[in-house]
Symmetry: C2
Subunit: 261 residues, 2 copies
């Protein structure tokens, strides 16, 4: 039994089943457990994962798309424990959780995958989230998304936009303004399914870099955001009343008086 | 073998291991799968789950707290498949995902649990999220949280506040303003761990009601929010440019001209 399999199947009761208990029709209490977190990450092809995320979006939405593309690819290649994950649960995060427009589902799914397989989730999530605020998305080459899958629409290149935010509500509003398309348009679904591919690709690049020891922080908070942190965040700050790392001036646009940056 | 167990262990390869493969030291590809989503929900005691969420917060943060309290309680009582879930991954959602202040971790964890075991996640998430916007939180009786657990601080009753938001950044800012305490204070950790208990308790009440066929929608969007939806959301709206269900006027406070509600 290889080590990952042994680790995967430890637990109280394990896999033992007795014929006696079946005959007596007594309930069999099984309490299997899988490997402890983080699960081992193994190198993936970021383009294959991107294409998988594009397809996944058209099945169960944006959060499922990114999470399943990464962990599902590990499952297809390496089996247990990755294959034991109930992937469809991640459909809850679609359009900022049940269409509430909160955290972008692609970034929620990416963070969940990072939380499952990274040894340093915070470092990778910080890098991914600042990248997503500052990058015009979607940014993936549509040529890698063609799937020969009749259930998935052909990818069409459209408008990309910089959002300055990780929130679905803001990301989509800025894209609608630039593209002049509605939230229920075909183009919007293309935008978000291709962004799922972009985020999945970036996440795999970060995980591969962590695995190979080549990860380096490239994205940093803006100067404006850091100046807000000075008074509002951290035990030594005057106010210490602001929880978060999102770009402040995306929402706090009316900066006058002492807030005139 | 009872039905849930049989369903839990289906998959390519199943659980078969041959001595031959071990002797040859060939890798054994195992591709176990668990039950399809939704996993069966079974009635839980909402007070016990609330207390568990309070304890869980002090282990791995707010998202883990709520998710593990619900699914972990199912695991302790009913074993597989609930016990196979890698609970610690949910620590990624702490403080609005890695302290980014996006979606409140208690609400992310609740939605994830609902996504795993509810037959109608959207309906339950809508109810929970509007409730959380409009309710002064935390609202749980601290008497039910005493744990006799030396690793968990004793619960102390503090300030509750209505946030009008599901976003960690806003929820915490409003609480800081009302309580005059900082985000790194002991009181803030009490606030959020007790809110985890409140959200877990409410979520279990909703899941129990769904199970028993007694669920009824009690919380609805505010009149103001519905008036915004008219022009900004839905295929028949003029603008169709706003993704989300969050209370609009919590952030969009400067309403003049045609936006003067």
């Amino acid at each position: 039994m290889d080590n990952s399999r042994r680790k995967a199947l430890t637990g109280i009761g394990g896999l033992a089943l007795s014929a006696t208990s079946t005959l007596l029709a007594a309930p069999v209490f099984s309490n299997e457990k899988v490997s402890s977190v983080p699960w081992e990450y193994k190198e993936l092809d970021s383009n294959l994962v991107a294409a998988r995320a594009y397809r996944g979006y058209h099945k169960h939405g944006c959060m499922y798309a990114v999470f399943e593309a990464i962990i599902g690819e590990l499952a297809d290649r390496f089996g247990t424990p990755y294959s034991t994950f109930p992937f469809e649960m991640m459909s809850y995060g679609a359009s900022g959780v049940a269409s509430w427009g909160t955290l972008c589902g692609t970034l929620n799914g990416a963070a969940a995958a990072i939380g499952l397989v990274s040894k340093n989730p915070r470092k990778l999530i910080n890098e991914l989230y600042i990248w997503s605020e500052e990058t015009a998305l979607p940014n993936v080459d549509v040529a890698i998304l063609s799937s020969n899958n009749s259930n998935t629409p052909n990818p069409v290149k459209g408008v990309s936009s910089i959002s300055g935010s990780v929130l679905c509500h803001i990301i989509v509003a800025k894209w609608c303004k630039k593209s002049k398309k509605g939230i229920d348009s075909y183009e919007k679904k293309q935008r978000c399914s291709q962004s799922a591919a972009s985020v999945a690709k970036k996440t795999v690049e970060l995980l591969n870099a962590e695995l190979n020891g080549t990860f380096k922080t490239q994205y940093r908070f803006t100067q404006e955001t850091k100046s807000c942190f000075k008074c509002h965040t951290g035990t030594t700050s005057v106010k210490n009343n602001s929880q978060g790392k999102m770009q402040c001036t995306t929402c706090h646009t009316n900066l006058t008086g002492i807030h005139n940056l």
